[in-house]
């Protein structure tokens, strides 16, 4: 008999934005508002605040022991949904029923105090996560063993390396044994080893018959770990479907859109003249602007710009940089001798410089695109090492049959052959 683990009925969350945009209201604001409000009301003016629905009309049910993926672009409302389910924030409308303790791998290290020792933090953090003291006592040795910090267990955690800190924090969270586990973007933090542990823990939990909600931008992980997924866009639930179908929908409909950035006059330094960047875009195979592109398809990067005057020897190029700041490559539009000769001087006007990163080059993860527009040994007109970021999704890339993140920034499809050598 399968029983319901989570039932969500028409959940909505409204945030107030607009007029007092400042995050912190001051007493003066409130006093002023109180005085102004009746006047506004007399005039028949609307509510003085704008509201946005971060989430609206979400309904779904999950049976106990199921793993459900939640996908959607940044700001689609995934985190808001998780926050509501984790009781961090109240819904504005609708209701949800949750059976059992909700644990989250997002909470890793929540409430850790740098001055306290590893041992003390295990107890404190365990209590914050909702564990009973006897439960922590019972699991203490296991937690220490899992975290591999046993030698430093009586050292204040402020002396820990970040890796040790993360391992200890994760060890506590991993031993919580919640009835419902929420995993949100854990793949974004920590090293490969840590990510492997997270995913491993997650499948353990699922195997033990507990419910898992898995939120990620990493489509291949979602594909590997879940059978069913929700697609959320602009606070609405677009579909609930078997994961391959949902991922396909998400990637093809450009729901992951962002993938572009425009410059306004304010962003451009004065000394950039006569070069004015207008927009940078990341495009997929089909020429659609995307925030997430697939590793197995070519990616197009393009920069649109304006020249106020003719420029001699101009080269416009991209850096590809990892999120840790390592340069992966630098490439200019006039690298090729043919183009170099043809565009020795560019007249004033509007241009687009475009390049293609071939399929099967980049590994999954987030990449940063930098822009450089310069005339060699004359002037660097414009330079922005963080013009734009985009995601690469490894679904279908070599080796995705194994449940593990791959080391390295590249994921080339290499030609292998295996020979059986017989004696």
């Amino acid at each position: 008999m399968s029983s319901l683990s989570i039932r969500v009925e028409n959940i909505g969350k409204r945030y107030r934005i607009g007029a007092p945009v400042s995050k912190y209201r001051t007493l003066r604001d409130t006093i002023a508002d109180t005085v102004m409000n009746p006047i506004k009301r007399l005039r028949g003016g609307p509510d003085m605040y704008d509201h946005i629905w971060a989430l609206r009309g979400i309904s779904f049910e999950i049976d106990q022991g199921k793993v459900l993926g939640i996908i959607g672009r940044n700001g689609a409302g995934k985190s808001t949904l998780l926050k509501i389910l984790a009781r961090v924030t109240d819904p504005t409308e609708g209701f949800a029923e949750i059976r059992g303790r909700v644990g989250s791998l997002l909470e890793v290290g929540t409430g850790f105090h740098p001055e306290l020792t590893g041992r003390e933090n295990i107890f404190l953090n365990g209590a914050i996560l909702g564990m009973k003291r006897t439960e922590i006592d019972r699991k203490f040795d296991e937690i220490v063993a899992f975290s591999e910090v046993d030698k430093f267990i009586d050292t204040p955690v402020k002396r820990y390396s970040s890796g040790m800190y993360l391992r200890l924090a994760f060890a506590v969270a991993a031993h919580l044994e919640p009835e419902i586990l929420v995993v949100d973007e854990v793949l974004a933090v920590g090293d490969a080893e840590f990510q492997r542990k997270c995913l491993g823990k997650m499948s353990d939990v699922a195997r033990e018959g507990r419910t898992v909600l898995f939120v990620s931008h990493n489509m291949s992980a979602v594909l590997r770990l879940t059978e069913e997924a929700l697609v959320i866009e602009k606070g609405q639930m677009i579909m609930r479907a078997p994961t391959p179908q949902a991922v396909d929908y998400y990637l093809s409909r450009g729901l992951s859109q962002e993938g572009q950035r425009s410059w306004t006059d304010d962003d451009i330094p004065l000394d950039a003249a006569p070069f004015y960047p207008l927009e940078i875009r990341v495009l997929n195979n089909m020429g659609r602007i995307m925030d997430t592109v697939r590793s197995v398809e070519p990616v197009m990067l393009e920069l649109e710009y304006r020249l106020e005057q003719p420029v001699t020897g101009l080269r416009v190029g991209f850096y590809l940089i990892s999120t840790r700041g390592e340069f992966i490559f630098t490439s200019f539009d006039t690298d090729e001798p043919g183009l170099y000769d043809r565009y020795a001087s560019r007249p004033a006007g509007r241009y687009i410089s475009r390049c293609i990163i071939p399929a099967d080059v980049l590994n999954e993860g987030r990449f940063v695109v930098g822009v450089n527009a310069s005339s060699f040994r004359v002037k660097r007109y414009f330079h922005d090492e963080q013009a734009l970021t985009f995601n690469v999704d490894a679904a279908g890339a070599p080796g995705t049959q194994w449940l593990e993140p791959r080391q390295g920034l590249m994921r080339p499809r290499l030609q292998w052959d295996i020979k059986v050598v017989q004696e």
Binding site: L27, T110, G111, F123, L124
Partner: protein
């Protein structure tokens, strides 16, 4: 399947109107109260040269200054009790209250990372910071005992009531602490208001002077400050400052303290829903 008792079902729905703090939930998280108090204690005097002796030094140095300027130079009356012990007896609950206000009002904002990530009864944060203040109080109390021996004060028959006055001080601290901490989430002005409020409050509490200095007809109005009742109670229970228990005054102070706490609980509960969105 895991062999576990049937898990509780939690119902999440929009909260409207006024309701008091969920005490059942608080009880379920009682161990967290203990651990948070313990954390505050552990951390409070980390990396300080003098450590926990600050708990003694603060009231002690204040007493020295008060004794010199108010006691010796200004010849402040002190109900025929040696001035140093007269003021120190008042400084003990006062320090408890003042520290509680300072720490509690910041508690939610300081722990915002916990509030935005995980559920627990939020009231645990101000509550545990107030409970941690009791340890400082206990340490300073030993000094008071020493002073009582030095000045030859025998414990009075009213000593039994001292825990009640400590409780009254805690209730007052919690009441004001709940209000300030919840307001601080929304209005950071509270961070600036609190030090001033504490200073102001000290002048309207009979610490450097006896409550008897206030004219008879104003006594009950004066007792609207719950700390007046606490301080007078302390002096009565420990030093036998008055012949009879400060009755009417105590009723007023206690009533106000309870009103503060209950209203604070309602206000806190109402604001609690928005903490994660605003902090």
């Amino acid at each position: 399947m895991i062999s576990k008792p049937e898990p509780d079902t939690i119902l999440l729905k929009p909260q409207t109107g006024w309701s008091p703090i969920n005490l059942g939930d608080l009880w379920r998280y009682r161990e967290l109260i203990y651990f948070m108090t313990w954390r505050d204690l552990k951390v409070r005097y980390k990396q300080t040269l003098l450590g926990a002796s600050w708990a003694i030094l603060r009231p002690f140095l204040t007493m020295v200054v008060f004794s010199i300027f108010f006691g010796r130079l200004a010849k402040m009356p002190s109900d025929n009790i040696p001035y140093p012990i007269f003021t120190f007896t008042a400084l003990l609950p006062w320090e408890l209250f003042a520290t509680a206000l300072n720490v509690a009002s910041r508690s939610l904002v300081q722990n915002s990372n916990m509030i935005t990530k995980i559920y627990f009864p939020r009231v645990i944060l101000p509550l545990s910071s107030i409970l941690a203040g009791l340890a400082d109080f206990a340490v300073a109390f030993l000094v008071l005992l020493g002073m009582m021996v030095y000045y030859g004060f025998m414990p009075t028959g009213a000593l039994w009531s001292l825990p009640l006055f400590i409780l009254l001080a805690m209730i007052s601290s919690l009441g004001v602490g709940l209000w300030l901490s919840a307001m601080n989430v929304q209005y950071r002005d509270i961070g600036y208001v609190t030090p001033f409020l504490v200073q102001f409050w000290m002048y309207i509490t009979p610490i450097a002077y006896p409550a008897s200095l206030v004219p008879e007809k104003w006594q009950l109005l004066y007792a609207l400050n719950p700390m007046t009742g606490v301080v007078e109670g302390f002096r009565w229970a420990l030093l036998g400052s008055a012949k009879s228990a400060p009755g009417p005054m105590m009723i007023v102070s206690t009533t106000i303290a309870i009103v503060l706490m209950v209203s604070g609980m309602f206000y806190f509960r109402r604001m609690e829903r928005q903490f994660a969105d605003m902090v």
